[in-house]
Protein backbone atom coordinates (compact mmCIF):
# COMPACT_ATOMS: atom_id res chain seq x y z
CA UNK A 1 0.00 0.00 0.00
CA UNK A 2 2.82 2.30 0.92
CA UNK A 3 4.65 2.06 -2.37
CA UNK A 4 1.38 2.74 -4.12
CA UNK A 5 0.83 6.03 -2.32
CA UNK A 6 4.46 7.13 -2.45
CA UNK A 7 4.79 6.75 -6.20
CA UNK A 8 1.41 6.96 -7.86
CA UNK A 9 2.93 6.85 -11.31
CA UNK A 10 5.46 4.12 -10.62
CA UNK A 11 5.24 0.39 -11.00
CA UNK A 12 3.59 -0.23 -7.65
CA UNK A 13 0.11 -0.70 -9.00
CA UNK A 14 1.21 -3.13 -11.63
CA UNK A 15 3.09 -5.28 -9.15
CA UNK A 16 0.06 -5.27 -6.87
CA UNK A 17 -2.12 -6.48 -9.71
CA UNK A 18 0.36 -9.15 -10.57
CA UNK A 19 0.34 -10.80 -7.14
CA UNK A 20 -3.30 -10.30 -6.17
CA UNK A 21 -6.55 -10.25 -8.01
CA UNK A 22 -9.08 -7.41 -7.57
CA UNK A 23 -11.50 -9.98 -6.20
CA UNK A 24 -9.09 -11.01 -3.48
CA UNK A 25 -8.52 -7.36 -2.58
CA UNK A 26 -12.27 -6.81 -2.34
CA UNK A 27 -12.57 -9.87 -0.10
CA UNK A 28 -9.83 -8.52 2.11
CA UNK A 29 -11.55 -5.12 2.41
CA UNK A 30 -14.88 -6.75 3.19
CA UNK A 31 -13.65 -9.27 5.71
CA UNK A 32 -10.64 -7.88 7.52
CA UNK A 33 -11.46 -7.65 11.22
CA UNK A 34 -11.23 -4.48 13.30
CA UNK A 35 -10.49 -2.29 10.27
CA UNK A 36 -13.08 -0.35 8.32
CA UNK A 37 -11.74 0.39 4.83
CA UNK A 38 -13.80 2.78 2.73
CA UNK A 39 -13.35 5.14 -0.22
CA UNK A 40 -14.14 8.84 -0.46
CA UNK A 41 -14.40 11.06 -3.53
CA UNK A 42 -12.07 14.12 -3.71
CA UNK A 43 -14.65 16.19 -1.78
CA UNK A 44 -14.91 13.70 1.06
CA UNK A 45 -18.21 12.02 0.18
CA UNK A 46 -18.41 8.29 0.79
CA UNK A 47 -18.25 6.29 -2.44
CA UNK A 48 -17.72 2.76 -1.12
CA UNK A 49 -18.79 1.05 2.06
CA UNK A 50 -17.95 -2.37 3.47
CA UNK A 51 -19.50 -4.84 5.92
CA UNK A 52 -16.66 -4.15 8.38
CA UNK A 53 -17.41 -0.42 8.18
CA UNK A 54 -21.06 -1.17 8.87
CA UNK A 55 -20.09 -3.29 11.87
CA UNK A 56 -17.85 -0.59 13.27
CA UNK A 57 -19.90 2.53 12.55
CA UNK A 58 -23.47 1.27 12.31
CA UNK A 59 -24.57 2.80 9.01
CA UNK A 60 -25.73 0.58 6.13
CA UNK A 61 -24.24 1.17 2.68
CA UNK A 62 -27.42 2.71 1.27
CA UNK A 63 -27.67 5.12 4.18
CA UNK A 64 -24.14 6.47 3.97
CA UNK A 65 -22.96 6.34 0.35
CA UNK A 66 -22.97 9.88 -1.01
CA UNK A 67 -22.85 11.42 2.46
CA UNK A 68 -19.90 13.52 3.64
CA UNK A 69 -17.49 11.74 6.00
CA UNK A 70 -17.81 14.52 8.58
CA UNK A 71 -20.75 12.38 9.83
CA UNK A 72 -18.16 10.18 11.56
CA UNK A 73 -16.79 13.06 13.61
CA UNK A 74 -18.02 14.49 16.92
CA UNK A 75 -19.65 17.95 16.70
CA UNK A 76 -16.69 19.78 18.27
CA UNK A 77 -14.42 18.57 15.43
CA UNK A 78 -16.89 19.71 12.80
CA UNK A 79 -17.07 23.17 14.33
CA UNK A 80 -13.33 23.49 13.70
CA UNK A 81 -13.66 22.05 10.17
CA UNK A 82 -11.34 19.18 10.99
CA UNK A 83 -12.37 17.09 7.98
CA UNK A 84 -11.42 19.86 5.52
CA UNK A 85 -7.98 20.12 7.14
CA UNK A 86 -7.51 16.36 6.99
CA UNK A 87 -8.37 16.18 3.30
CA UNK A 88 -6.06 19.10 2.53
CA UNK A 89 -3.14 17.47 4.37
CA UNK A 90 -3.81 14.09 2.76
CA UNK A 91 -3.95 15.66 -0.69
CA UNK A 92 -0.75 17.63 -0.17
CA UNK A 93 1.35 15.01 1.58
CA UNK A 94 -0.20 11.81 0.30
CA UNK A 95 -1.53 10.67 3.65
CA UNK A 96 -2.98 11.88 6.95
CA UNK A 97 -3.02 9.91 10.17
CA UNK A 98 -4.98 10.73 13.32
CA UNK A 99 -6.07 9.18 16.58
CA UNK A 100 -9.22 10.46 18.22
CA UNK A 101 -12.92 10.14 18.97
CA UNK A 102 -15.28 9.12 16.20
CA UNK A 103 -19.05 8.81 16.24
CA UNK A 104 -21.24 5.83 15.37
CA UNK A 105 -24.68 6.06 13.81
CA UNK A 106 -26.34 5.79 17.22
CA UNK A 107 -24.27 8.71 18.52
CA UNK A 108 -21.94 6.67 20.73
CA UNK A 109 -18.24 7.41 20.49
CA UNK A 110 -15.27 5.16 19.92
CA UNK A 111 -11.55 5.83 19.98
CA UNK A 112 -10.08 5.32 16.53
CA UNK A 113 -6.90 5.39 14.53
CA UNK A 114 -7.64 6.81 11.10
CA UNK A 115 -5.39 6.88 8.03
CA UNK A 116 -6.46 8.87 4.99
CA UNK A 117 -4.56 8.11 1.79
CA UNK A 118 -4.79 10.23 -1.35
CA UNK A 119 -5.51 8.13 -4.45
CA UNK A 120 -4.28 9.46 -7.80
CA UNK A 121 -4.63 8.22 -11.36
CA UNK A 122 -1.75 7.71 -13.78
CA UNK A 123 -1.64 11.43 -14.64
CA UNK A 124 -1.42 12.30 -10.98
CA UNK A 125 -4.96 13.65 -10.79
CA UNK A 126 -6.68 13.17 -7.45
CA UNK A 127 -9.47 10.62 -7.81
CA UNK A 128 -10.38 10.25 -4.16
CA UNK A 129 -9.20 9.02 -0.80
CA UNK A 130 -8.86 5.66 0.89
CA UNK A 131 -9.88 5.74 4.53
CA UNK A 132 -8.78 3.05 6.98
CA UNK A 133 -10.36 3.28 10.43
CA UNK A 134 -9.29 1.05 13.29
CA UNK A 135 -11.28 0.77 16.50
CA UNK A 136 -8.89 1.27 19.41
CA UNK A 137 -11.55 1.55 22.14
CA UNK A 138 -10.44 -1.62 23.89
CA UNK A 139 -6.78 -0.65 23.84
CA UNK A 140 -7.65 2.79 25.15
CA UNK A 141 -9.87 1.38 27.91
CA UNK A 142 -7.09 -1.01 28.93
CA UNK A 143 -4.53 1.80 28.98
CA UNK A 144 -6.89 3.98 30.98
CA UNK A 145 -7.41 1.20 33.53
CA UNK A 146 -3.68 0.60 33.94
CA UNK A 147 -3.02 4.31 34.30
CA UNK A 148 -5.74 4.64 36.93
CA UNK A 149 -4.51 1.63 38.89
CA UNK A 150 -0.91 2.77 38.94
CA UNK A 151 -2.07 6.22 40.01
CA UNK A 152 -4.04 4.67 42.88
CA UNK A 153 -1.11 2.51 43.96
CA UNK A 154 1.18 5.50 43.78
CA UNK A 155 -1.15 7.60 45.92
CA UNK A 156 -1.62 4.84 48.44
CA UNK A 157 2.11 4.27 48.71
CA UNK A 158 2.84 7.99 48.88
CA UNK A 159 0.61 8.56 51.90
CA UNK A 160 -0.55 5.39 53.63
CA UNK A 161 -2.94 6.16 56.48
CA UNK A 162 -3.74 3.19 58.70
CA UNK A 163 -5.78 2.92 61.84
CA UNK A 164 -3.71 1.14 64.50
CA UNK A 165 -6.15 1.48 67.39
CA UNK A 166 -9.58 2.89 67.98
CA UNK A 167 -8.86 6.58 67.80
CA UNK A 168 -5.24 6.32 66.64
CA UNK A 169 -4.14 6.74 63.04
CA UNK A 170 -0.62 6.01 61.82
CA UNK A 171 1.04 7.57 58.77
CA UNK A 172 4.40 5.87 58.09
CA UNK A 173 6.17 8.18 55.66
CA UNK A 174 9.03 6.76 53.60
CA UNK A 175 11.19 8.69 51.19
CA UNK A 176 11.63 12.35 50.39
CA UNK A 177 8.68 14.64 51.00
CA UNK A 178 8.10 17.10 48.18
CA UNK A 179 5.42 19.76 48.36
CA UNK A 180 2.99 17.79 46.18
CA UNK A 181 3.27 14.83 48.51
CA UNK A 182 2.87 16.91 51.66
CA UNK A 183 -0.19 18.58 50.15
CA UNK A 184 -1.61 15.15 49.44
CA UNK A 185 -0.66 14.05 52.95
CA UNK A 186 -2.63 16.92 54.47
CA UNK A 187 -5.76 16.16 52.48
CA UNK A 188 -5.65 12.40 53.08
CA UNK A 189 -4.92 12.74 56.77
CA UNK A 190 -7.67 15.30 57.40
CA UNK A 191 -10.14 13.15 55.51
CA UNK A 192 -9.22 9.99 57.42
CA UNK A 193 -9.24 11.77 60.80
CA UNK A 194 -12.78 12.94 60.12
CA UNK A 195 -13.97 9.61 58.73
CA UNK A 196 -12.64 7.58 61.63
CA UNK A 197 -13.20 10.23 64.33
CA UNK A 198 -9.65 9.65 65.51
CA UNK A 199 -8.40 12.14 68.10
CA UNK A 200 -4.73 11.21 67.55
CA UNK A 201 -2.61 10.79 64.43
CA UNK A 202 0.95 9.51 64.54
CA UNK A 203 3.11 10.94 61.78
CA UNK A 204 6.17 8.73 61.56
CA UNK A 205 9.14 10.21 59.69
CA UNK A 206 11.65 7.44 60.48
CA UNK A 207 11.88 6.67 56.76
CA UNK A 208 12.32 10.27 55.65
CA UNK A 209 16.01 10.88 54.84
CA UNK A 210 16.14 14.66 55.26
CA UNK A 211 13.87 17.55 56.02
CA UNK A 212 14.29 21.03 54.59
CA UNK A 213 12.62 24.17 55.85
CA UNK A 214 9.87 23.99 53.24
CA UNK A 215 8.96 20.42 54.18
CA UNK A 216 9.00 21.34 57.85
CA UNK A 217 6.68 24.26 57.12
CA UNK A 218 4.29 21.90 55.33
CA UNK A 219 4.36 19.51 58.28
CA UNK A 220 3.63 22.36 60.69
CA UNK A 221 0.67 23.41 58.52
CA UNK A 222 -0.62 19.86 58.45
CA UNK A 223 -0.43 19.66 62.23
CA UNK A 224 -2.24 23.00 62.52
CA UNK A 225 -5.01 21.84 60.18
CA UNK A 226 -5.49 18.57 62.06
CA UNK A 227 -5.74 20.59 65.29
CA UNK A 228 -8.53 22.67 63.79
CA UNK A 229 -10.48 19.47 63.31
CA UNK A 230 -10.06 18.71 66.98
CA UNK A 231 -7.38 16.04 66.81
CA UNK A 232 -3.70 15.97 67.72
CA UNK A 233 -0.64 14.96 65.74
CA UNK A 234 2.39 13.29 67.28
CA UNK A 235 5.47 13.50 65.07
CA UNK A 236 7.52 10.37 65.66
CA UNK A 237 10.81 9.04 64.35
CA UNK A 238 12.68 12.27 64.92
CA UNK A 239 16.22 10.89 64.58
CA UNK A 240 19.26 12.78 65.86
CA UNK A 241 20.20 14.08 62.41
CA UNK A 242 16.65 15.31 61.81
CA UNK A 243 16.58 16.98 65.23
CA UNK A 244 19.89 18.71 64.46
CA UNK A 245 18.69 19.87 61.06
CA UNK A 246 15.44 21.25 62.48
CA UNK A 247 17.24 23.27 65.16
CA UNK A 248 19.92 24.53 62.76
CA UNK A 249 17.24 25.64 60.30
CA UNK A 250 15.58 27.51 63.15
CA UNK A 251 12.28 25.67 62.76
CA UNK A 252 10.05 26.03 65.77
CA UNK A 253 8.25 22.78 66.51
CA UNK A 254 7.51 23.62 70.12
CA UNK A 255 3.79 23.57 69.36
CA UNK A 256 4.00 20.06 67.91
CA UNK A 257 4.22 16.88 69.97
CA UNK A 258 7.41 15.12 68.91
CA UNK A 259 8.94 11.82 69.97
CA UNK A 260 12.07 10.03 68.84
CA UNK A 261 10.54 6.59 68.37
CA UNK A 262 7.20 5.26 67.20
CA UNK A 263 6.94 3.34 70.50
CA UNK A 264 7.16 6.56 72.47
CA UNK A 265 4.63 8.07 70.11
CA UNK A 266 2.14 5.24 70.67
CA UNK A 267 2.61 5.63 74.43
CA UNK A 268 1.85 9.31 74.12
CA UNK A 269 -1.21 8.66 71.94
CA UNK A 270 -2.59 6.28 74.57
CA UNK A 271 -1.95 8.96 77.20
CA UNK A 272 -3.88 11.52 75.15
CA UNK A 273 -6.75 9.05 74.86
CA UNK A 274 -6.52 8.39 78.59
CA UNK A 275 -5.86 4.70 77.95
CA UNK A 276 -3.43 2.38 79.67
CA UNK A 277 -1.81 -0.82 78.45
CA UNK A 278 -0.56 -3.16 81.17
CA UNK A 279 0.20 -6.82 81.89
CA UNK A 280 -2.74 -9.20 81.59
CA UNK A 281 -2.92 -10.40 85.17
Amino acid sequence: MKSKTKSPNGGGEKRLEAVTTPDMLRMLVENVRDYAIILLDPKGNVTSWSPTAERLKGWRAEEIIGQHFSKFYPPEDNVSHKTATELAVAEKEGRFEDEGWRVRKDGTRFWANVVLTALRDKEGKLVGFGKVTRDLSERRAAEEKIRKQSQEIFEMAAVPVVQVWEGILLVPLIGTLDSQRTQHLMERLLQRVTETSSPVALLDITGVPTIDSQTAQHLIETVAAVRLLGADVVLTGVRPTIAQTLVHLGIDLSNVFTRSSLTAGVRMALEILNLKVGPKS
Partner: protein, 124 residues
Protein backbone atom coordinates in the same frame (compact mmCIF):
# COMPACT_ATOMS: atom_id res chain seq x y z
CA UNK B 1 -31.82 38.94 58.35
CA UNK B 2 -31.14 35.27 58.87
CA UNK B 3 -29.81 35.89 62.39
CA UNK B 4 -32.31 33.35 63.53
CA UNK B 5 -30.29 30.62 61.86
CA UNK B 6 -27.79 30.63 64.72
CA UNK B 7 -29.30 28.42 67.37
CA UNK B 8 -28.24 28.57 71.02
CA UNK B 9 -29.48 25.72 73.20
CA UNK B 10 -28.53 25.08 76.78
CA UNK B 11 -27.74 21.44 77.58
CA UNK B 12 -26.92 20.90 81.26
CA UNK B 13 -24.15 23.44 81.89
CA UNK B 14 -23.18 23.84 78.29
CA UNK B 15 -24.40 26.18 75.58
CA UNK B 16 -24.73 24.41 72.25
CA UNK B 17 -24.30 26.97 69.48
CA UNK B 18 -24.96 25.79 65.92
CA UNK B 19 -23.84 27.83 62.94
CA UNK B 20 -25.71 27.78 59.61
CA UNK B 21 -23.87 26.32 56.61
CA UNK B 22 -23.19 29.59 54.85
CA UNK B 23 -23.21 32.39 57.44
CA UNK B 24 -23.13 35.95 56.07
CA UNK B 25 -21.35 38.80 57.83
CA UNK B 26 -24.41 39.98 59.75
CA UNK B 27 -25.05 36.45 61.00
CA UNK B 28 -21.45 36.20 62.13
CA UNK B 29 -21.68 39.61 63.83
CA UNK B 30 -24.71 38.49 65.79
CA UNK B 31 -22.85 35.41 67.09
CA UNK B 32 -20.94 37.33 69.76
CA UNK B 33 -24.03 39.01 71.26
CA UNK B 34 -26.10 35.87 71.25
CA UNK B 35 -23.43 33.81 72.96
CA UNK B 36 -22.52 36.41 75.56
CA UNK B 37 -26.10 37.24 76.52
CA UNK B 38 -26.86 33.52 76.79
CA UNK B 39 -23.77 33.09 78.99
CA UNK B 40 -25.00 35.83 81.29
CA UNK B 41 -28.59 34.60 81.36
CA UNK B 42 -27.88 30.92 81.92
CA UNK B 43 -24.63 30.99 83.86
CA UNK B 44 -23.26 28.19 81.66
CA UNK B 45 -19.81 26.70 82.19
CA UNK B 46 -18.87 26.50 78.56
CA UNK B 47 -19.78 26.92 74.91
CA UNK B 48 -19.66 24.34 72.16
CA UNK B 49 -19.64 25.96 68.74
CA UNK B 50 -20.82 23.42 66.17
CA UNK B 51 -19.49 24.35 62.73
CA UNK B 52 -19.92 20.92 61.13
CA UNK B 53 -22.13 22.29 58.36
CA UNK B 54 -20.02 25.38 57.67
CA UNK B 55 -18.39 25.20 54.27
CA UNK B 56 -16.25 28.32 54.25
CA UNK B 57 -14.30 30.02 56.99
CA UNK B 58 -13.03 33.53 56.31
CA UNK B 59 -10.78 35.70 58.45
CA UNK B 60 -13.73 37.69 59.80
CA UNK B 61 -15.45 34.54 61.03
CA UNK B 62 -12.20 33.24 62.51
CA UNK B 63 -11.54 36.53 64.32
CA UNK B 64 -15.08 36.65 65.67
CA UNK B 65 -14.73 33.11 67.00
CA UNK B 66 -11.36 33.91 68.64
CA UNK B 67 -12.67 37.12 70.22
CA UNK B 68 -15.86 35.47 71.42
CA UNK B 69 -13.84 32.66 72.98
CA UNK B 70 -11.71 35.23 74.83
CA UNK B 71 -14.83 37.03 76.07
CA UNK B 72 -16.42 33.77 77.17
CA UNK B 73 -13.18 32.98 79.03
CA UNK B 74 -13.42 36.37 80.79
CA UNK B 75 -16.91 35.41 81.88
CA UNK B 76 -15.53 32.18 83.28
CA UNK B 77 -16.38 29.72 80.52
CA UNK B 78 -14.50 27.73 77.94
CA UNK B 79 -15.17 27.45 74.23
CA UNK B 80 -14.80 24.34 72.11
CA UNK B 81 -15.11 24.51 68.32
CA UNK B 82 -16.53 21.22 67.08
CA UNK B 83 -16.75 19.44 63.76
CA UNK B 84 -14.67 21.52 61.39
CA UNK B 85 -14.64 19.99 57.90
CA UNK B 86 -11.32 18.90 56.35
CA UNK B 87 -11.65 21.27 53.39
CA UNK B 88 -12.34 24.17 55.75
CA UNK B 89 -9.29 23.26 57.84
CA UNK B 90 -7.09 23.18 54.72
CA UNK B 91 -8.14 26.65 53.54
CA UNK B 92 -7.98 28.02 57.08
CA UNK B 93 -4.39 26.84 57.42
CA UNK B 94 -3.46 28.11 53.99
CA UNK B 95 -4.60 31.64 54.83
CA UNK B 96 -2.84 31.39 58.17
CA UNK B 97 -5.79 31.01 60.54
CA UNK B 98 -4.91 28.65 63.33
CA UNK B 99 -7.54 29.67 65.93
CA UNK B 100 -4.86 30.00 68.58
CA UNK B 101 -5.83 29.18 72.15
CA UNK B 102 -9.11 27.68 71.07
CA UNK B 103 -10.02 24.12 71.86
CA UNK B 104 -11.24 22.02 69.00
CA UNK B 105 -13.08 18.74 68.85
CA UNK B 106 -13.84 16.20 66.12
CA UNK B 107 -17.58 16.30 66.80
CA UNK B 108 -20.17 17.58 69.24
CA UNK B 109 -20.20 14.34 71.20
CA UNK B 110 -16.49 14.51 71.94
CA UNK B 111 -16.79 18.21 72.70
CA UNK B 112 -19.48 17.43 75.30
CA UNK B 113 -17.19 14.78 76.85
CA UNK B 114 -14.31 17.22 76.93
CA UNK B 115 -16.40 20.07 78.33
CA UNK B 116 -17.82 17.99 81.16
CA UNK B 117 -14.66 16.00 81.95
CA UNK B 118 -12.79 19.02 83.32
CA UNK B 119 -9.61 17.21 82.32
CA UNK B 120 -6.92 19.27 80.66
CA UNK B 121 -6.69 17.90 77.12
CA UNK B 122 -3.06 18.85 76.65
CA UNK B 123 -0.79 16.26 78.26
CA UNK B 124 2.36 18.34 77.87
Amino acid sequence: MNNESISVIKVRDILMVTMPSDPDDSTISSLQNKVLTAMERTDAKGVILDISTVETLDSFFARTVSETAQMVALMGGRTIVAGMRPAVAVTATQIGLTLKNIETSLNVERALDAATAERPRDPR
